[in-house]
Symmetry: C2
Subunit: 198 residues, 2 copies
């Protein structure tokens, strides 16, 4: 069976990539065990980073816990509408400045790679995640007492995908829409011709 | 056989992640065919991004071509020493501002995810990549006539791993050193206790 969210790729991709997508419909009865969570965090841990700086940090909250409720409350209303069914909400933060306050220009880039690794490992465990930029970063900083060198980056909803019917109508429809991307050609830069030196 | 660069993980990872690393020793006889390159770019194409903005762009150069020589010349000397043996050098850029000049705060984060997908797909094809922040971004911008909304992010060396012996002595030694990461516990944030409301 071809899942409607399987990427319509112009070349065959590894199934862990082709079948990955960002659901909004999560199974509200699924519990995330430590044994499922640990490899996901471990996958993020082994991502590459500039000078091996490893700027990513994670705050893990699980549905039913007070931390989860606090993190959920900081989401934009559009995300609150569905993310409460996730098994876990992870706050992903990055050390965007070093101990001396100097910017780390690759902190966000590297953190993106770490979460991508986490997503691939999740896919290997039959789990899925949905990354959200739509949350109140200042509220999160206050709620969880984040260090000043840490920047909240995304909140990740993590869990087991459920049928779209569980969602309210407009979201359910969106859940069934095929995924789309720019054409590959439009992502490729054509270099300017080399200028002959005088 | 356990490869010395296989990650010493605290939980089993999918082999595509556990065996991924960033070599400096590339096989200077390996040619990257279009059929090998295409799925890698396609994997990047299907990465998730904020509001599906897909800010990543790629400039592909292959060893032996003039573009490769120009991109190689913009690398820091420490990277020039080994990266010339790669089959391809990819300039990865991101649309860090939109058409109206407004910043796109997730452009670097999303681009990191796209390159992580590319790396996983490369691993599935028996290829490896090494991402470099060490290059002259202004020189790259000039050399390739990049649009003002595009920011050069990394240069990726891509190819087939070769024996470390091909490298000069200090680099060869580094190639054999086990990979290291912070302990998982140190990546986990402990939330401050919730403050009871008055």
């Amino acid at each position: 069976m071809t899942h409607p969210k399987r990427a319509d790729t112009s070349a065959p991709l590894h199934p862990l990539l082709a079948e990955r997508w960002s659901p909004r419909s999560f199974d509200p009865s699924h519990q995330l065990d430590d044994s499922d969570l640990h490899p996901l965090l471990e996958a993020a841990r082994w991502a590459p980073s500039a000078n091996n700086s490893q700027p990513w940090r994670f705050l893990v909250t699980r549905r039913g816990g007070d931390d989860f409720t606090r993190l959920h409350a900081a989401l934009n209303p559009g995300n609150q509408a569905w993310a409460g069914a996730a098994s876990a909400l992870l706050l992903v933060a990055a050390h965007t400045v070093d101990e001396a306050g100097r910017p780390r220009p690759y902190a966000l880039y590297d953190t993106g790679q770490a979460v991508a690794h986490l997503a691939v490992q999740a896919q290997a465990h039959g789990l899925a995640l949905h990354q959200m930029g739509g949350f109140d970063a200042a509220a999160v900083r206050d709620a969880f007492g984040l260090d000043a060198t840490l920047t909240p980056v995304v909140v990740v909803a993590l869990g087991r995908v459920d049928a779209p019917e569980r969602l309210p109508a407009p979201l359910a429809e969106r859940e069934r829409t095929p995924r789309q991307r720019h054409a590959l050609d439009s992502l490729l830069l054509a270099p300017a011709p080399a200028v002959a030196s005088a």
